[in-house]
Structure formats: structure tokens, C-alpha cells
Symmetry: C2
Subunit: 411 residues, 2 copies
């Protein structure tokens, strides 16, 4: 047997030992500028995104290539135990986003104990991992916090065409893990689930293999599985004014614990791609209100040219989703394409895992989705999963933890 | 409406128009050396792997990061129609592996017709895409080719512990799509399925997010979801002698149409990762017969050090899988990790999609898997899907097509 106390070092595990203090210090120092990052998505995939900051990373920070999203249900009614879990999770997230294993040392030391880290990301780079936590409406019931439930954390209404599977909907809380290496994202969710054993259980989870949105203005909008660019005028991480107006919860919005937070809508949107693929190019372009090659709005030349809505058919997707059609409603999109095998009828179970951040869903997703009831695209898609989460503010420093402003007695 | 006849060019679509002849010529010229590639897996992800050659790419060529695997059932009994499909598929595969859209021009021209390509890979690089076709035992029944069915294409026996789901098993044929960008792999399978509409239907499919094997000797073996390196002495793409001995079908093996081909075993192996994660490090290492950090066999220092089997427990995985335990049985592994959401009981549906190539399963997978009946690992894994395919030889040139040696009347 090799000496398990001194396994061969990899870059990741080395940082996990000697370099930990230094690296965490650097991350903390970088925290304040985390949301002002301007790097293109093509930045080297190995780098780390600062975990500390006034807002959580994974929202306005550059969109990574891969996603593992998990919704959890809380199985304990012991508030103190749950708060301890939030603190343990924060410590683990701080380490993993910096590219370290969860425990001190590669496996937490004792050969007689289960490892502190499951190990499959050992040797891999930080891969711009971000971990973002959110709290669902049901959490406030479970811990008798209904007086602190934000007004904006509504129960989403039923929308036209919804065909929601409860096993892919809701959840007391969520973790969004994004990274350029899917193994790093899967590792992070798995280790948080492992740490939460006996207190939380995964309700549903979703892997996203390709980003469909960008928060970096210089990058082209990635194509969705319909072959189109959608959401080309997404809010960029550098657009401080639009972020302030449409994404971040302000002090006066209330409740105070949500200041610097946001709201996340997650929708699993199945695409009937086989039917779509038999539709003519002209009809596809009419439905979106864009050309397929460049992604330009009808009559325009470039994907980011200002659309002339009246040139589009009345039921065109771009027209119905546009802020001008919806009293200015604007969301930050961060969705991913998924393909989850086959549906038993010979069709790929594929589509868009739609993730949208906004300051208030009542002025963001809800009016937009209501407008989309008339969308010509609805013949080819179906919403099959849905959840809404309050995204608390960021973890400010080494002593702070996820959810402190909600759960701390001093807060 | 923009002029759909001249969409804005991207790198991919540009090649698809003016550069097509040139690029295909280059690919054809490179075909003969495709299997002798020695580049490390870390080679720039944008490059193309030659499609033409005496053997199919995607076996001994360097392992890419992502997988989309699909098993199809044939729904036509018209042999000529099926042969036409194989030719159409070959033409599409030739274009897609070179980084082009399926049709000439980005969408095949007419706005009134469905596009020749679904478009979601437009602008993406070739990403080392390989497409590998295989024929299952049932195909030989369907087209009255039982006299040409290879003896080595046996019906796999039931193995101890098998818990096979027929909806994740079998198939008349398979396509293995590997690429460094999952969108490129998904795009390829989807377009082949689209082209096959009315003749084939997807029986099951599997996304693999992370490779667990390497065919490049200089690369470290990637970790599986148990956090271990497994199959560290995999056959390298440069080991011509071992490939000849263990992977490629020889003329004297028979039947003649399989010369230069191979046999592929696909097994979906679910890992009970939550149970595994609560097992001590010592026990995990005893079960594998390796240390977790470096991946070295018991008592050794480095992952590729020759194992001393008697130092391991009798039921250690390495010991039971080793050629010395199985009369020399050796396979080329090309498996991928998967995570397909949640199983309804709060556990991740995660594991290893095991892919193994060999010259004869009766001297490869079957004896190894029988030996593994005693594997200590079996407490933590379960085989839930299974399929075996005959992998025909490569497509030699522009005029050749997948399966010609089996289906051509001259062959």
C-alpha cells in the first residue's frame, strides 16, 4: 500500500496543501471586482473566478461552457443543523472554486475514514467554476421564515402550454454549478450533496452541455439546438447600469437580506427537434424573426443590430420577447442546451435548460412568458420543468457564509 | 428578410462552400496515417481527424473529451434504401468530421425546403470529431445476411450482477460520435438521425461528459467518477503490435468483409456513488488495488508501473481485470463518465459508459467480465445496459461508404 498521507501531488492537490492560504487570500482580494470582469469567454479555461464579493459569481460573470444544476429538498427541520450545512457548503465552495479539493490535504487524511473529497477532479484546473445558491419558496415554510419571504418570490403562475413534471420542478434550494470542464461542475454538485447527506436530498438535477448565452459583449451569441442565436441583446457583465436596473435587488426593493441578490427562473424546455428539422428554412426564420446564418433580426445585417419589430410576423419569437413589447421587461439569460438520451419514442430528449436572472420576476420573466403565449415557436417546444429561487447576495469574505443575511440572528 | 442564399460566413460555413474540395482532399491524403497519430490529447481542440483510412477513426485515434453515442433500429426492410442511407450517412460524416455543414452551402440552398443541416454547429470548429459505425447482431437477421454474420459477433452471455434494461440495450446499428465540443458530437448524431428519418429510429442514446481512458501514452489516465484511474495500461494508438494483436480483425479471423474492423462492447455501468462516497479511503484503495492519488498499483509508485498482483486482495479490481488473470485478454478502452440527472430517490444517475474495442469478444470482454464476477467493486456498481457491435473497416476514399464490404454485391 502506498502511504496515503502523501499521495503524489497534482496541481490541484498541491494548491490544496501548501498554496491554500495564499490562493484563498488572492481570491478574497479579487472578490470586489468579480462582477466587473470583462474577459472574453475564450479566456484560458483553467483560471479561477473569485468566490468572494458583494454578489454571487455565476450571474454577471462570463458564462462558462458547461452546467450541472441541482435542486435540493431539505430533510431536516433542525434550523441549526441546516445553518451548519450552509457554513460547511460555503467552505467547500470556497475551496472548489479556487481549484482545491474539499478537505485539507487531498483526501482529508485518515485512511480509515471516507475521503473529504470524492477525488474525480483531482489534477483538473479550476475551470472557472462558479457555485451559486438559491432558496425556493418552500424553504421559507420549512424554517418558519414566511415573514422573511420576499414578495417577489411569488408562486409562478401557470403559463399557456405548460406541461410541468413535478419531478423536474421546484425545490427548497438550488445550486448552479458552471465550469468549462463538466467533470469540475459535476464534482462540485456531488460533493455538496455528499456533505449534505442526512440534511438535504437532490430533488432533480440537470446537466447542460453547451451554453446558449453570453454575458461578454464581444463574444458571439452561441446557437441553441434549433440552430439559432437567441437573446443576442443579453445583459453584459460590464453593463453596470443595466445590471443595476434589471438584475440586482436594491435596498429599497426589500427585504433587506436580499440586497445585492437576484431571482432565478429555471425552466426545462423540451424542443421537438425532429419536427423542427423538417420545417423549411423560411418558416424557421419567420418564427424566430431572425436569419439563421448570422442571427440578424429581419431586414438587418448583424446579430446585434437593433430589431425593427414591425418587419416581423406578429407571432415571431423575437418580437414577442422584446422589451418594447413587454413594457421594458428585461432578463439576464444564462441557459444551456441539454440532451438526455431518448424519450422512448425514438426522439432525442433535447432542448434548452433556460436560466434567467432578474431583479423581480413580476417585471421580468412573468410578463415576457405571458407575451410568449402567442409565440409561433410554441408548436416546437414545451416547458416541462419549472422553478423559482431567491438568490441571496454574495459571500463577502472568509468569515461570511451562504444565506447569512437570511439565517443569522444578528442580521 | 435577409437573403438566405448568402448568409454571413463563419469559419465552418466558409469551408463548407469554397474550401470544401481542398479540405476534403487534405483529409483524404491524411487518411492513411490516421491511426498512427501520436499527438497528445491536449492538441488544439479545433483540428480535424481524418475520416478516410483503412480503419475507422474513433478507435485508436486520440480520445476526445466528449461523447454522444446512439443505437438505432432499422425500420425499413428495403435493402437498397438502407444502402442508400449508408451512402448518404457516409457523405454527411465525411463533411461533418472535416468541420463542414452537412449540405453544400450552409443550409442547402432553398428557403422553401428544410435545411440540409440543423445549424447548431455552424461556426464551431471540427473539434476532432470522429464518427464510428457498428452493426449489431439483429441487423443480420433483418437483411437476410445471417451467412455473413461474424462468428465473433456472439450474443453476449448473461453476467453475474447484470440488471439490463432492454431500452438501454441492443440495437441494429450504432454511431459513436466523439469530439472535444459536445455540441459538435450531438449535432452529428442528430443530423444522421434526421437523414435516416423513415429508415432508422434511435433506440437509445447516451451522452458522455468526460473521457475515462486515453490512447496516448504520454497522457495521464483520466479519473472515473469513483475518483480512480482505471485501465492505465490501455492500448495506445501508437502501439501497432498490440493493436494488431488485440484490436483489429485480421484477414484470417474471418469473415473477409470484417478485415480491418473490430468489435465494440458498450455497457452502461451505473455507479452507486453515494454509497461509494461513504466508504473509507483504505477500503476504496483495496477494492481497486491502487492508491487514489497517483493511481499506482499496490506497493508501486506510478500509475503505469507494472502491478504486482499478489500484493493485492484476491477480489481487487485491477487483479481480476488484469491480462495475467485472464489468459492475456486485453481490450482497448474508450469509456466516458455520465450523469443523467437523478433517479427519483435523491441519487445521481451517474456512472461509466464503458466502451471497449477488441479483435474478438470471446477473447476480450467476455473472459474479463466473467473474471470480474468476483470483483469487490460489484457492491458499488451495476451493469444496466449492454450492446455488442461489429465495427466494419474504414472508408477508404471519396467513393467508398460505410458498410460497403458487407452490403456491396461485388464485395
Amino acid at each position: 500500500m502506498t502511504d496515503t498521507g502523501s499521495p503524489s501531488p497534482s496541481r490541484r492537490s498541491l494548491l490544496g496543501w501548501g498554496g491554500a492560504g495564499l490562493a484563498i487570500g488572492a481570491a478574497a482580494a479579487g472578490g470586489a471586482v468579480a462582477m466587473a470582469r470583462t474577459e472574453d469567454d475564450s479566456e484560458p479555461a483553467g483560471s479561477a473566478i473569485a468566490f468572494h464579493g458583494p454578489r454571487q459569481a455565476g450571474i454577471a460573470t462570463p458564462v462558462q461552457d458547461r452546467l450541472h444544476f441541482a435542486a435540493f429538498d431539505v430533510t431536516t427541520d433542525d434550523r441549526d443543523a441546516f445553518v451548519r450545512l450552509l457554513k460547511d457548503w460555503t467552505a467547500a465552495a470556497r475551496r472548489m472554486t479556487a481549484g482545491h479539493a474539499v478537505g485539507e490535504g487531498a483526501y482529508g487524511g485518515l485512511a480509515e475514514a471516507p475521503p473529504d473529497d470524492t477525488g474525480e477532479a483531482l489534477g483538473l484546473k479550476p475551470s472557472r467554476l462558479t457555485l451559486t445558491i438559491g432558496f425556493g419558496p418552500s424553504l421559507f415554510e420549512k424554517f418558519d421564515l414566511t415573514d422573511r419571504r420576499p414578495e417577489a418570490l411569488v408562486d409562478l403562475p401557470k403559463f399557456a402550454g405548460d406541461n410541468l413534471d413535478k419531478n423536474r420542478s421546484g425545490g427548497d434550494l438550488c445550486i448552479q454549478a458552471c465550469a468549462d470542464d463538466p467533470q469540475v461542475a459535476v464534482h462540485a454538485v456531488r460533493n455538496l450533496a455528499r456533505i449534505g447527506f442526512g440534511k438535504v436530498v437532490i430533488r432533480w438535477s440537470q446537466l447542460g452541455f453547451g451554453k446558449t448565452s453570453s454575458t461578454t459583449p464581444e463574444a458571439q451569441t452561441p446557437r441553441n439546438l434549433m440552430g439559432f442565436k437567441d437573446g443576442t441583446r443579453n445583459i453584459a457583465g460590464t453593463e453596470t447600469d443595466r445590471l443595476k436596473k434589471f438584475v440586482w435587488v436594491d435596498g429599497k426593493d426589500g427585504p433587506p437580506w436580499m440586497e445585492g441578490g437576484s431571482y432565478l427562473v429555471a425552466r426545462r424546455i423540451r424542443m421537438h427537434i425532429e419536427t423542427w428539422d423538417r420545417t423549411s428554412l423560411q418558416e424557421q426564420e419567420d418564427i424566430f424573426g431572425r436569419d439563421k446564418g448570422e442571427g440578424a433580426p429581419v431586414g438587418k445585417a448583424k446579430e446585434r443590430d437593433e430589431p425593427f419589430l414591425k418587419a416581423m410576423k406578429p407571432d415571431a419569437h423575437v418580437r414577442l420577447a422584446h422589451p418594447d413589447t413587454n413594457h421594458g421587461a428585461t432578463i439576464l439569460r444564462r441557459g444551456y442546451s441539454f440532451t438526455d438520451g431518448t424519450d422512448g419514442l425514438g426522439r432525442l430528449d433535447a432542448g434548452l435548460f433556460f436560466l434567467a436572472y432578474q431583479r423581480d420576476v413580476r417585471e421580468g420573466f412573468i410578463p415576457i412568458q405571458r407575451s410568449l403565449a402567442a409565440d409561433a415557436l410554441n408548436e416546437y417546444i414545451q416547458h416541462v420543468g419549472s422553478a423559482l429561487f431567491a438568490i441571496p447576495p454574495g459571500v463577502r469574505d472568509q468569515d461570511d457564509w451562504w444565506g447569512r443575511t437570511l439565517f443569522s440572528k444578528e442580521a
